[in-house]
Symmetry: D3
Subunit: 132 residues, 6 copies
């Protein structure tokens, strides 16, 4: 197996799961499903809910889809999720991320993680000007 | 005090520290220094190194400065650094972040943190197609 | 090797370490020791202290042992410890966790990680009604 | 204000937001809305999606609602979200969590966070028996 | 209150709890108990286990007690536990930490958090020479 | 490849990158470059900045270099960065870390992560005596 409950392939999927797989492939204009969805497909409610949420959240809005992918990679590098780093780096590339953009993204993620700990460790209080 | 070692105000700062404060204010086109820098100013080497790094990393490049601020906020919300959330949200606003952009940013950060744990918890292996 | 200091097998263990191994096997009604204990056995004080603590904490109380294993998996998925996810998922199964329970557990862990960041990122203050 | 974008009270809410507030109050059998929802209500799509997801995930299933609240608290204590610790501890109490259950929950959360780092730091490989 | 279950003062404590408080005060050569212990004293088993563990772990060994306190602060700044940063910074000072040592500690903690994310984000594989 | 953008070997490196590689090898008195630097070398500015920062931060000061390496390992075990745990454990060994010191380091890291969550979960307020 390649996941706790195994992976559900299209040919073995229920019609409920297939409907989500179909929507993933048509939305992403691709002909395959990556392991993440096949792993959570054991729980069709979570599969559907997660996909509908990702689709809604990653759609073009005031932020463009590439920026949203960059943010996804930033979070994944910060929490240390290898799967998510790999899949969203690939996703960002597909949406136009260059090597230079990736390098800048990582530089910002690194600095943010550094100064986050300096601010915490030095016990810095929020300035009056920044208070909501 | 408002930080472990206290805050160093401009009028009490050494010329070495003042030089960094001056560069922060002129680079940011502002006339004040926020607490973070005043807190780490007790260690002038860290003050200078951190500021030079932040200045380099956040400068316009292939990613524009607003996108970089959004990434900074994404990391800070993920690690839970209140100071950094407050200061970089203010910074992003100054660079043009609207309420709608902030809301979309948060929605992506939330989803990424959710799916990061699903991928980890379900022990999903990286697809061959995503391997570097 | 399979750990920084290597693994200490039963036949190579001191009597002090064997005593802990014996207690682990008899408490868990099993005839083998998993790598975690063999890795920290290089430090018999930590081995004993950690095992005694785990035994005390995971024993039946007001919460039943299965619920405690679910909580262990929830923490491990959140911090991203692959070893701990794998071992405690196995432990939970042994105590009765079904596939459906695992899926519900993951769904809650995912949502909690999502709303944790929304609450942080939106800088939401604790309601008076929730204050201790 | 008490949140980045402020809090939206019921009387100032759009009918779309009110519909969600009404559903929260009727589902939870309460007559008030806590700050979290009022803060994210600036983004009605996120408000609705998050509420529908929480409602689905926290509903009775193979795990009972109290166990789900305990898991929520475990995640929140691990990531360090004060708002979430406070609100979900209150939620767990309402569903029957005793002081003794809370203490056991915390003991497990503490041990899991400890052994997670021992497993990582000692670079322990997953036992063959635990592999998926 | 100042904690979920409130704080248990010495005069209100059971003899079991008092015995731990007495040992804390005599071990630390102090005449007061900080809030952390008073908060977990609602669970005497956790109080005793945690104190015995901390006492054992923080005792002089191959690493001296000041170095151990510095490590404690490093972890606390990384996870973002305000209580722990404040109490262990005070503890480190009592054991001889100077302002200069604190500043160097923070600089290392910051850099480590930065390079941790660069290594994760760039998906760097462990060199053969570093493998256990 | 062994990293998102691949690894840049010395013979393929620009003179700018080689200058950093040369300084790494001469500072560390070694004749090879580990993967981390080869991975970030795709971004010469980040390579130089990160190396200059690490060199400055890890140099002898009020804390000796071994203590600084221990702190680096403590952070890496806490965030769960496998690469960083492996490389800095090797670095600490080179600077004199014994097996006993490693074991004590891990014991402190484990306890700190445990009590960090107890303090958060029990919502313990900072004692007046610890406030900055």
């Amino acid at each position: 197996m390649m996941a706790t409950l195994g992976l559900i392939e299209y040919e073995d999927a229920s019609s409920e799961v297939r409907a989500v797989y179909d929507d993933i492939m048509s939305t992403r204009k691709t002909d395959w499903i990556n392991n993440f969805w096949k792993a959570i497909a054991h729980d069709p409610a979570t599969l559907r809910r997660t996909w509908e949420s990702v689709k809604q959240v990653m759609a073009p809005g005031e932020l463009d889809p590439l920026v949203k992918e960059l943010i996804y990679v930033a979070v994944s590098a910060t929490t240390g999720c290898e799967y998510c780093i790999a899949s969203h780096t690939a996703g960002a590339r597909k949406k136009g991320m260059t090597d230079g953009m990736f390098a800048e993204l990582m530089a910002v993620v690194g600095m943010a993680n550094e100064t986050n700990r300096l601010a915490k460790g030095y016990q810095v209080e929020v300035d009056e000007a920044f208070r909501v």
